[in-house]
């Protein structure tokens, strides 16, 4: 953990990511192409119906999210961002001579978020209905 960051090293470490990503994205279409050339094909209309529960489905399945999911989603965004703020602090926790002050600041932050958490609990926002 030196002060100077070598940018080229960082870029180098992501080149394999790009290579794997290309291979991973190509793999399913290639597999499906192989399947297309190997598998038999027949055109029976019933085959292309939605299976669902075995009988003919009634109505469209694409419904809106129940509103209670949004409560969880908002709480999730709140806490996930809190966790993101913890990462840089975790990095400087040891060996930078600012452990105590950084910890106090972070504890204040965590307690503020905890206050919100207790509020959510008391409001029963996290109760499944």
């Amino acid at each position: 953990m030196s002060g100077i960051i070598d940018i080229s090293n960082i870029i180098y470490s992501y080149i394999p990511v790009a290579i794997i990503l290309v291979v991973a994205l190509m793999m399913p279409p290639l597999t499906m192409f192989l399947v297309k050339s190997l598998s038999p094909r027949s055109k029976a209309a019933a085959k292309y119906d939605t299976y669902e529960a075995g009988s003919v489905p009634i109505g469209d399945a694409r419904i809106q999210f129940n509103v209670e999911y949004y409560l969880y989603a908002i709480a999730f965004v709140l806490f996930d961002i809190e966790v993101l703020f913890l990462y840089p602090w975790a990095m400087i926790f040891q060996g930078h001579g600012i452990t105590e002050i950084a910890t106090v600041e972070m504890l204040v932050f965590i307690f503020v978020v905890l206050f919100g958490y207790v509020y959510l609990l008391k409001k029963e926002a996290l109760k499944w209905q």
């Binding site: 953990m1 180098y12 470490s13 992501y14 080149i15 394999p16 990511v17 790009a18 290579i19 794997i20 990503l21 291979v23 991973a24 994205l25 793999m27 399913p28 279409p29 597999t31 499906m32 192989l34 399947v35 297309k36 190997l38 598998s39 038999p40 027949s42 085959k47 292309y48 119906d49 939605t50 299976y51 669902e52 529960a53 489905p57 469209d60 399945a61 694409r62 419904i63 999210f65 969880y72 989603a73 709480a75 999730f76 806490f79 996930d80 966790v83 993101l84 913890l86 990462y87 975790a90 990095m91 926790f93 040891q94 060996g95 105590e100 910890t103 504890l107 965590i110 958490y117 996290l126």
Partner: protein, 341 residues
């Protein structure tokens, strides 16, 4: 003996990564066989027996079957999303794979991890890209236009949203203790004492959250066969189903590796054992993979030991139990750090 410079070339690392991809495919096939045999054993059945010795070739037979099955896209399905969803899921698991070391080679006390790449922030990266898989699952469910799939995906959302937070906090606790976000350095930092002994609560929180993240029983509410047919993947057949299925098993293997790397000491061995060159090349990786297999064994056995939670219980466990526990563990780690332990 020094490793040749060419091994650090990014293109060569990419090729190593592709080799690891094929290795994990074989590993996933082995894991499917392993799970079927073990499940059968627990239920006092034989499991696959007829294809090869103890059904070892069953997976080859399954692969041939999947390859020769017709590719069906239901006419009510959203074709674009239906085709793109397996790509999304595969992309997510392989992006995770890039950053995870599959073991290490120790030569003259220097450790060279067997990984496609080594980043400074690999653990943050892993958390970020593994979250993509939930989009793949939702694409599967939404595109198939099936009520049960969509129900499964909704439950999946509620679950993942809850468990991502305790997972993140326990990872931060590990990062504080190791002083690094690099997964290799985290594994190295556990040299004398594994993190599972230093922060047992963190381990429990991480393990439960990871089980939920992988969608393993008792946390497979997105599938729950008894109520949702096959859950989110009902409309998928043949190889398209196979791709999603394989993505899940690769996720299982990678998750077990993550447990071993973050909490169970990775490939660390007493220095005496790795001083010899040949032993140093072989032993750490073998030791690491052995631990991974043990963790997988435990996860599979848990499947038959614990009944599935209801979705409201799942959400309650994450928000009301795991989150406070994760924060408690964070406090414990801070206290240890301030005391200089």
């Amino acid at each position: 003996m020094e490793l040749p410079e060419i091994l650090f070339n990014p293109l060569v690392r990419g090729i190593i990564g592709i080799c690891l991809m094929s290795a994990i495919f074989l590993g996933a096939m082995a894991a499917v066989w392993f799970e079927r045999k073990l499940s059968a054993d627990i239920q006092q059945r034989y499991g696959p027996m007829r294809t090869g010795p103890h059904g070892l070739l069953q997976l080859v037979a399954d692969a041939i079957k999947l390859f020769t099955k017709e590719d069906i896209i239901p006419k009510n399905a959203d074709r674009l999303l239906f085709v793109a969803a397996p790509i999304m899921m595969m992309g997510s698991v392989f992006l995770v794979l890039v950053a995870i070391p599959f073991g290490a080679i120790i030569i003259n006390g220097n450790t060279y991890p067997i990984a496609a790449t080594e980043m400074d922030i690999s653990i943050l990266y892993i958390e970020a890209v593994s979250a993509i898989s939930i989009i793949g699952i939702f694409m599967v469910a939404y595109s198939s236009n099936n009520k049960y799939s969509l129900l499964g995906a909704f439950r999946n959302f509620a679950r993942m949203i809850g468990y991502e937070v305790p997972l993140g906090i326990s990872i931060v606790s590990v990062a504080i203790m190791a002083g690094s976000l690099n997964i290799v350095e985290i594994a190295q930092a556990q040299h004398p004492l594994w993190f599972v002994f230093k922060q047992p609560i963190g381990f429990i929180v991480f393990f439960i959250a990871l089980m939920a993240d992988m969608g393993r029983l008792p946390f497979d509410q997105n599938e729950s066969e008894e109520e949702l047919i096959a859950g989110w993947i009902t409309e998928y057949t043949g190889m398209r189903f196979g791709l999603g299925f394989f993505a899940e098993y690769i996720h299982l293997i990678l998750g077990s590796m993550l447990v071993v790397l973050l909490f169970l000491g990775g490939w660390n061995l007493p220095a005496v054992l790795t001083s010899n060159t040949i032993l140093g090349i072989i032993l750490p990786t073998v030791f690491f993979l052995l631990k991974v297999i043990l963790v997988m064994l435990f996860i599979i056995m848990l499947r038959w030991a614990v009944p599935r939670f209801r979705i409201d219980q799942v959400v309650d466990i994450s928000w009301k139990k795991l989150l406070p526990l994760a924060l408690l563990n964070l406090g414990w780690v801070i206290a240890l750090g301030l005391l200089g332990v």
